[in-house]
Amino acid sequence: MRLAIREALLAFRRAPMLSALSITTIAFSLFAFGLFGLVALNIRNALRTVEDRVEIRAFIADGTGTEATAAALGDIGAFPEAASVRLVTQTQALDRARRELGEFSDVFEEGILPASIEVRLKPGFRDPATVRAVAKRIEVYDFIDDIRFGEEWVEKLHRLRNIATLAGVALGLTFAIVAIIIIGSTIRMAVMARSREISIMRLVGATNGFIRAPFLIEGFLKGTLGGMLALVLAWVALAVINRFVVQASFFEPWMEAGGVLAGASIGLVGSALSVGRHLRRV
């Protein structure tokens, strides 16, 4: 094992440029993945706070009887998705508007704002599709004039998150494939550089596993280094974003560990895929 590690480290010295290139491509692979991952993560966090505030407002036509309203309130309250249902009367609506607008409060006259039913949804029912479905069901009451549920930007955030995730995966995978190809050619060079040694190893009875081990260790080390480099890059990117754009949060520790592990796997898989093929030619 010690011999294998020594050989693996020696390989870095033999081909420093190619080694650096493999590490960098692994790092870029994970960085691309990580950057879009960060965007997705932060959008998700934002969505969570937004979704906490998701509510459906159904505006009630003037002159609707209190009985009809009360019946509707009861019906809606019984929806499995509904967490709470509240009636906001015309007076309450006015009060709230005055409170929120402060000095412009006297622009409003009594009766200008409609009464409404406000529905909050239970967690897990706050995604755009469910919200829209619930809104549709409320809209069937004919005394409902208009219905609002902040659909546009909830939906936009969702779409943005999906795009970010997709872009991250696509770019990350592309780089991962490039990394695997580069690792493969590094290994081909390493195998050729050591072909004499390898043939003597075989001759004296070294096992295949023993002959492979240094190459796999080399790949693993490169992958791990690439993963760590990606983490540093992502961290720098985040610092820049924090300073110049918005306050954003970083990965959880388990995600960071996952990133480094992913790098190690790319390195290991890249080596494992090519080492057998190249060794066979020696």
């Binding site: 190893m201 001759l203 004296v204």
Partner: protein
């Protein structure tokens, strides 16, 4: 022991290298394989250490059969064999000691045992004084001794040598051959391909002669030459 039973070897590009080769090498025996260049000597030796597989027939070497072996058996078998070649096959960037130690390192010998063992092997081949020399600083005969020390590293039951004296002068040839005799005397079988007929004749060892991929003469099978000096069949060739 080594047993070839009706072995054929076909190469895709060059055709039949061996045809119906059968012979047996017993424990502790010293056997020459002779024959002109291209006769199939190297192919026979490669089959012995499973560098090649027979196209037909069976090669059985110390319990490993070409008919039933698994890939993992090959390294195990090779640890029981020592192999040397005409071109020595040393690692040029390592000194004598390191070249011998290499065979022990890559077969998992505990590192504390390697140093003393290498010293013993070097003294066995008479190279104790050159332990730190690089291969290029040695004569051909000395380089071959390093290769022999490496071949003996894992205590082989047989030494397989493919024209080990092919690149050596008369004196060095005699030295290497004497070394082989000594190794053989301590119980290791030796299977040596050569076209040095003088050497073969003087030794009086068993001789298997191949020509165009076939065994044309085996002094053991034909009964007689094991202890006597010359073999007329050998003389007719080359």
């Amino acid at each position: 022991m080594i047993r070839f039973s009706h072995v054929h070897k076909l190469f895709a590009r060059t055709g039949a290298a061996l045809q119906d080769v059968s012979f047996q090498v017993n424990k502790g025996e010293f056997v020459f394989i002779t024959g002109p260049s291209g006769a199939g000597k190297s192919t026979i030796l490669k089959l012995c250490f499973f560098d090649e597989r027979p196209s037909q027939g069976e090669v059985k070497v110390y319990g490993t059969s070409s008919a039933t072996y698994r890939e993992a058996d090959v390294p195990k078998l090779r640890r029981r064999l020592g192999v040397v070649f005409q071109d020595f096959r040393l690692l040029e960037d390592r000194n004598v000691e390191a070249n011998v130690a290499f065979a022990l390192e890559v077969t998992g010998t505990p590192s504390t045992q390697i140093g003393p063992r290498v010293m013993r092997l070097l003294s066995q081949v008479g190279l104790s004084a050159k332990a730190t020399a690089l291969p290029r600083e040695l004569s051909g005969g000395e380089q071959q001794r390093v290769a022999v020390a490496r071949a003996l590293a894992n205590d082989p039951v047989a030494l397989i040598a493919d024209e080990p004296t092919g690149n050596l002068d008369e004196r060095a040839t005699r030295g290497i051959f004497q070394l082989f005799r000594d190794i053989n005397a301590s119980g290791t079988a030796v299977l040596m391909a050569t076209h040095d007929l003088d050497l073969v004749r003087r030794s009086g060892c068993r001789t298997i002669e191949v020509n165009r991929g076939q065994v044309v003469f085996d002094s053991a099978a034909d009964g007689g030459f094991r202890t006597s000096g010359a073999s007329p069949e050998v003389e007719t060739d080359e």
